[in-house]
């Protein structure tokens, strides 16, 4: 589903964000990307959704070479890859349902499909009752669930979560993690960058540890620290 072949990312000032990274994620996998801030987790995520291009090496997502893809295809790539962030990135003047429907509308969908898919995503994250609330009226966990619903509404093959629990208290964090594992159980490949050792250690999923832009550890059923 995801393949990074010998990928390096070097910034114009000469520093390497990633160095010779090889990574393979199969369909339906759940992986944790761990490592200190600046280790390269976010760079991997930006390469996967083509917010940045690799300096050398090949990034393949769902069979497509992301680096060679023309700009006009980037939209289609991103519909296959949902992303959730630490800061939720919700639109404050839209309701929960409108925020979720937004992802469908701006990708050219309309009418009944938008309504049905929005309701499906809202019920998946358990926010049907909150559909007409504005983000400012929601708790942090509810805001993140709205963001997850928006990321899932286009039925992506991959869900990427960049520190999804970074702004949440432990109890709420667990709610979000439970939701993400359920999404993974339903068949979506999951890549999650995190600093939350407790969650990584409890779940015992695959752990890819980055340090100074290099993969220093890749374990099945791994722990946060070696």
């Amino acid at each position: 589903m995801i393949a990074l072949d010998d990928v390096s990312k070097r910034y114009p000032n000469g520093t390497f964000a990633l160095r010779d990274v090889d990574l393979r994620v199969d369909s339906g996998d759940f992986i944790f990307l761990v490592g200190a801030s600046g280790a390269g987790k976010s760079t991997v995520i930006r390469l996967l959704i083509r917010e940045e291009l690799a300096t050398t090496g090949r990034v393949v997502v769902d069979g497509e070479d992301v680096g060679r893809m023309p700009r006009s295809r980037v939209g289609r790539l991103r519909r296959k890859v949902g992303v959730v962030f630490q800061d939720f990135k919700l639109l404050p003047r839209k309701t929960v349902a409108e925020n979720v429907a937004f992802a469908l509308i701006v990708t050219g969908h309309e009418g009944r499909l938008v309504r049905e898919e929005t309701e499906r995503a809202l019920s998946l994250v358990g926010l049907t009752a909150r559909r007409d609330h504005f983000p400012s009226q929601l708790s942090g966990g509810e805001q993140q669930r709205t963001a997850i619903a928006r990321a899932l509404v286009n039925r992506p093959r991959i869900l990427i979560a960049d520190e999804p629990t970074g702004n949440l208290d432990p109890v709420t964090s667990w709610e979000i993690i439970k939701l993400l594992t359920r999404v993974n159980d339903l068949g979506t490949t999951l890549v999650m960058a995190t600093h939350n050792a407790e969650i990584v250690n409890a779940l015992r999923r695959r752990v890819v540890h980055l340090d100074h832009g290099m993969v220093v550890r890749d374990e099945r059923e791994g722990l946060y620290a070696a």
Binding site: I49, R71, S72, V74, G75, R76, L77, R78, R79, K80, G82, V83, K89, L91, F102, A103, V106, T107, G108, R150, A151, N154
Partner: protein, 276 residues
């Protein structure tokens, strides 16, 4: 969308409308005057009719010539008598014979060719057929200089105004883009196409342009009545009319330029944002 940007676009379009109108009036004036540009070729009294007709045919073959008229000695005298009859202060002395030469009156279709053509004909003076060639080069030259200066100056000013208007639209749309940057970021994140992000802003740019066009055209058409009356004394010497057909062309051109500038400025602005 600010008042200032609409105002700037309006000013640019007013200038454009003024330029178009002036240019159209000038073109009409030039073509009227051009049609009056003539070369008179006086014929040698000893030239044979066959030689004259051969020369006439040769002149007619030149693409710059629209019409050649052969005026005989008798016709020339008759014209002079006609003029004398109409004007009381003009008394024609009775003389023996006819001192007037026969001539070819050459009307040109292209006034710019007058100088060259007159030179060519003048080279034949003394060869037995052509006695003299009279043209009025200064008039033609001056007219053409004025037209050239006006069109070059007009295009330069217009280009400058166009640049200013484009700049203003780019900035207006940049503000609009900035105000919606979060929304744009999410649109791009969830996979909206560049076009989907772009078109609302292009529409907004075109709206600013269209608004400017409406204001500018209102001013132009409101002012056209009084201005025409004021200019009538000046224009009466020339048969120039800027009728409803021109008004339609003017409105279409102004609106077209406005929409183009609006869409173009917005496209530049959004492209700059998307490329980030």
């Amino acid at each position: 969308m600010s008042l200032a940007s609409t105002f700037t676009v309006t000013l640019m379009l007013l200038l454009f409308a003024f330029f178009l109108t002036t240019d159209r009036g000038l073109q009409a004036a030039v073509s009227v005057l051009e049609s009056k540009v003539e070369i008179a070729l006086f014929l040698d009294g000893n030239a044979k009719v066959s030689e004259i007709l051969a020369l006439k045919a040769r002149i007619e073959a030149d693409p710059a010539v629209s019409r050649v008229e052969y005026v005989t000695k008798e016709q020339a005298l008759k014209r002079l008598q006609d003029i004398a009859d109409r004007r009381k202060d003009f008394v024609l002395a009775t003389i023996d014979g006819n001192p007037l030469p026969s001539s070819l009156e050459i009307k040109l279709s292209d006034a710019r060719q007058a100088k060259r053509f007159a030179e060519e004909l003048r080279a034949e003076v003394g060869a037995g057929v052509v006695a003299d060639v009279i043209d009025n080069p200064q008039v033609v030259d001056q007219l053409l200089t004025i037209t050239r200066v006006l069109s070059v100056g007009g295009v330069a000013i217009l280009a400058m105004m166009l640049f200013v208007a484009l700049f203003v639209i780019v900035n207006t749309i940049r503000i609009a883009v900035h105000a919606r940057r979060d929304e744009i970021e999410i649109m791009q994140l969830v996979g909206a196409s560049d076009w989907f992000v772009r078109w609302p802003f292009i529409l907004e740019g075109m709206l600013v342009g269209a608004l400017g066009a409406v204001v500018a055209l209102s001013v132009v058409f409101a002012a056209s009545g009084p201005v025409t009356t004021a200019m009538l004394d000046f224009l009466v010497t020339l048969p120039i009319s800027l009728g409803p057909e021109f008004a339609f062309q003017l409105a279409a051109s102004v609106l077209g330029v406005a929409l183009l500038v609006g869409a173009g400025g917005a496209t530049l602005s959004v492209r700059a944002h998307l490329a980030k």
